[in-house]
């Protein structure tokens, strides 16, 4: 389950921010390690909603620092 989410998130990261799928591992920080800026985070949130049906409002988005945080959020909020 969490592998599926990680793979789906890796696809989004590749498309939105050009991150190689192999680099999209749970411990990575979006801004520090993957060079994803705040506007790309918004695009990632949009694509997460399209792909997983999980909306990430701005205040929640601010708490998502790592790929692992995103996986946890999606897992916990998936219907």
């Amino acid at each position: 389950m969490s592998e599926d989410i990680q793979a789906g998130l890796a696809e989004i990261l590749e498309e939105v921010a050009g991150v190689a799928p192999a680099d999209a591992t749970p411990e990575k920080s979006f801004t520090e390690d993957l060079d994803v800026d705040s506007l790309s985070m918004v695009e990632i949130a949009t694509e997460v909603e399209n792909k997983f049906g999980v909306a990430i409002p701005d205040d929640e988005l601010a708490n998502i620092k790592t790929v692992g945080d995103a996986i946890t959020y999606i897992t916990n909020n998936r219907g």
Binding site: S38, L39, V42, E43, A45, D58
Partner: protein
């Protein structure tokens, strides 16, 4: 009982001519890096702006609006007394009273037109265009001068890297007149007042602008595609018919995102005036279209899709036939 008579208007309205005014002073990203914690790479990657124009003291809102309006009048081939209405779109008056529409009209020698200011933030130009088109079609005015003019450098904290790198100054104008063939399509407009605080000037910030960049970016890249599609559908055209895509020049990444989502053909020219002009709010669309017409990238008879959006939050889009 005596019935109230109505005037007879024109079957359609179109843009007769464009005019623009760009302030003399170019402000580069390197110049801004000296007064705030930013750099050229950061600015270009976030908003796509390489330089912007900031007005000098003598380039007041009235001066810039008059210059752009005068050029639009000249381009339209009309005499000032053929204009019956002036709509001045701005959100950056130093003081709100009086509005500057009447003064700009007076400076241009337009005798006693209906004249007023319209504040719909960065959507102001497209809202004003709808007013102008309706007035011509209702017989309220033979011709209407629409000016978008801003001095956002006045209302921006020039040490705040979230806003100072984006907002800029300038004016753009059009004259709208009657035509048998409609040259201004039905407006697709609306507002999202629940997000009123996403872009605002507040006393707590010294009266300067603050912007929730992420919220605005999310709104622009997710909600506004529908407005663009609605504007095309209402005009009876599709993406394949659009020669020029000129959305409000807010952020190059929003422009590219909208462009990608709409699926225009390869030949569609995309306005990227923001790169050298910055975000000039209500002035950005006429400035961008003026530049494309001047450079020959857009030509007379082209179909353009425009969309203004910003503070309010407000949005308005139309399909236009370029003069």
């Amino acid at each position: 009982m005596t019935a109230i008579q109505l005037k007879t208007g024109a079957p359609g309205a179109r843009i007769l001519g464009f005019g623009d005014y760009r302030p003399r002073r170019r402000v580069t990203n390197d110049e801004l890096s000296q007064v705030m914690d930013t750099n050229d790479e950061w600015i270009q990657s976030r908003v796509g702006i390489a330089e912007r124009r900031w007005a000098s003291d003598d380039e007041t809102l009235v001066e810039m609006a008059t210059a752009a309006g005068g050029k639009a009048l000249a381009a339209s081939g009309l005499a000032p007394d053929e204009v019956d209405m002036v709509v001045l779109a701005t959100a950056s008056l130093e003081y709100p009273i009086p509005g500057i529409g009447p003064q700009v009209a007076h400076r241009l020698g337009i005798p006693r037109p209906g004249a007023f200011d319209l504040n719909a933030g960065c959507a102001g130009f497209c809202y004003s265009l709808e007013m102008a088109s309706n007035a011509v079609r209702a017989g309220t005015a033979r011709n209407v001068l629409v000016v978008g003019a801003e001095r956002l450098s006045d209302v921006t904290d020039q040490t705040d890297r979230a806003t100072a790198v984006i907002f800029a100054d300038g004016a753009g104008a059009v004259v709208v007149g009657a035509s048998d063939e409609p040259g201004i399509g039905p407006v697709a407009w609306g507002s999202d007042g629940d997000q009123y605080s996403a872009i605002e000037m507040v006393a707590g910030n010294g009266g300067k602008m603050i912007m929730a960049g992420q919220a605005v970016y999310r709104w622009a890249t997710t909600k506004l595609t529908a407005a663009l599609e609605e504007a095309m559908a209402a005009a009876g055209v599709g993406p394949e018919d659009i020669d020029v895509f000129a959305p409000h020049q807010a952020n190059l990444r929003i422009i590219e995102s909208m462009h990608k989502r709409l699926g225009f053909p390869e030949r569609t020219v995309v306005a990227r005036d923001i790169v050298t002009t910055g975000n000039t709010s209500a002035a950005s669309i006429p400035l961008a279209l003026s530049a494309l017409l001047e450079s020959g990238q857009a030509k007379s008879g082209d179909l353009a899709l425009v969309l203004g959006y910003g503070a309010g939050l407000t949005f308005a889009g139309q399909v236009l036939r370029l003069p």
